[in-house]
Amino acid sequence: MKKLSKSTKNSLINYGMVIALYAIVMIIQLCGGLSNSMKGFLVPVCIYVIMAVSLNLVVGILGELSLGHAGFMCIGAYTGAIFSKLTEDTITVAPIRFTIAIIIGAAFAALFGALIGIPVLRLKGDYLAIVTLAFGEIIKNLVNVINFGVDSNGLHFSLKSAMDMGLAEDGKIIIKGAQGISGTPQDSNFTVGIVLVLITLFIVQNLVNSRDGRAIMAIRDNRIAAESVGINITKYKLMVFTISAALAGAAGVLYSHNFSTLTSAGDKFNYNASIMILVYVVLGGIGNIRGSVIAAVILYILPEKLRFLSDYRMLVYAIVLIVVMLFNWSPKAKEFKETVSYKIKAMFAKKEETQA
């Protein structure tokens, strides 16, 4: 262990943590002790862990605020589900079809990530944040009005209604406007989710600990200084946005194959969803990968576990959020915590002394 660098050790701990969690859950499931609600959480938790870690790459490592992360998830979810629906009859082996769906979802999301990365090159700070928010909303709005179907003559699109596509008798409607996609094969499961989490951790951690990662963090810490030592800012920013979008896209595919219905209505893919993921990232610690994983798990399960509060559930959640933020981030609270931990340490030290 001594030979390993600190960062490698950290990465290994993260993999170990995820694998241990997986093992524990699997064992409990085998002995039949996993409650239905916990079973239901398994895949969504993986989805939000991937979302949080990939957003942390943009927010924590690159240092840019993105409010449109859920938009990439939306693209991944839709393209993945479309692929699965189209090939449901031709590729009958679910794992193969699902793997291709994930790759396609990630690829499309990456494409959009790169497209959105281009304005990123010109904008900074809150202006960038609002452009990402705008892109997220545009994606959501467009997905909402698309009608898409397939028949023997090929693919059909319409922005008006499913009937305007003029599908032939044998046609199959795939996206039906606001009603979205229904009947996607439910291929997602916990194992696939964990594998994707591990892949995400692998990609992000290796990037962070590489030469590229150090260049990216240099941009975050001081853009002008980084530029002056010859770091290609354009390249690295685009790279981060693309990778982060691709991972979010993969999470989206996992999402769309976990529930048989997919619509962009409500808060699923809009700025509210993006902000929820941002909450995970900030509470877990900006730039802290392990923190993102842990925060996503806790904060996803917390509102579900608060169900016994019935009507007061979201109120309590809001208060918990504010209090935890104040406790974790306020300089005064930090001081207080340091004093307390110092005192505790001193107490123990004293005890040891007296014992000795």
Partner: protein, 411 residues
Amino acid sequence: MNKFAKKLMALGLSAMMTVPFLTACGGGSESGSASNGGDSASASGTVFKIGGIGPVTGGAAVYGLAVKNAAEMAVKEINAAGGINGVQVEFKFEDDVHDAEKSVNAYNTLKDWGMQMLMGTVTSTPCQAVVEETHKDNMFQLTPSGSAVESIKYDNAFRVCFSDPNQGLGSAKYIGENGLASKVAVIYNSSDVYSSGIYEKFSAEAANQPFEIVAAEAFTDDSKTDFTVQLQKAKDAGAELVFLPIYYQEASLILQQAATMEFAPKFFGCDGLDGILNVENFDLNLTKDVMLLTPFAADAQDEKTQKFVSDYKAAYGDVPNQFAADAYDAIYIIKAAAEKAGITPDMSTSDMADAMKKAMTEITYDGLTGAGMVWSADGEPTKAPKAVVIAVEEVTNDDGTKTLTGSYKAM
């Protein structure tokens, strides 16, 4: 994040993860045996456990709360009258914030609680996700208001309300057959499953009817305050009737803005418009002569409706809308079917569902939302929609002040 916070987080995480597992292990023997012999209910007591799912927070909370309240009221009444087959009923309602994913979570939570039958979900999209789960578990599901076609696509699911295409079809036919207008404009919510579902069928059926759709204007959930553009286009196109397959909150704004613009066509809506008379502080004059096709009207004169409305008002302080009526009916429909099927709480949920499925197609139910309702095996109810027009009159109160009251009149 500093060390202290990290430790705190880790501690929290471990607590969060272990608590549910521990409780799960405690109940493990129970749920484990449910699949074999199905004595989970007997282990948990001799009651029927009915679950409900719908949004009680978030933008759609108004529908979920109405369903929750009315269902709880119905359950109370049933229990006071001796329960179902002499067995008491327990009802539990979980929030889904109008989100498919949260809805499935709510469903799983209810399963842990020991739910045997599901009355839900309230909104269509979550219902489509939950129906997959109830189908897998073969649990009986009756949605009060999930109106999309796919919401009940399996044989274990039934609904109380009309399906969306049904309403679109019914509205188009009614407008055409009664010659209400020759030029019709539609304003619908393109981001809403309910609204776009009705509109789609309406516009398809319009081709067979003697009227023409001169303007079809959409709005979305993100911009549902300003309808002047849509109204202006309808006005410019010379629409005599504006069809509003939307909910009453937006409709109340549309009526107000149309009045400001001095655009006075006929307005025609579906069951989503019910409730417009009860928007607090709304100028009822605007609703005069609005027509709607609805199975439920809160001021119908029959005894059943009147009792329901006065009880609901006494308990929750509001006039119930059609969601509440659907839910109230749903609970009584479950009761009727359960009595027909002769189910007992010690049956497994799957056996219960099989018995209920059969009984549902055999019962005839007279409820708030329709008389003589019958169900086909695909889960769709057959009942007659009532077309009503809103009449507004001025009544003089005891203290001499005058107030407006609105009421539905049959057409």
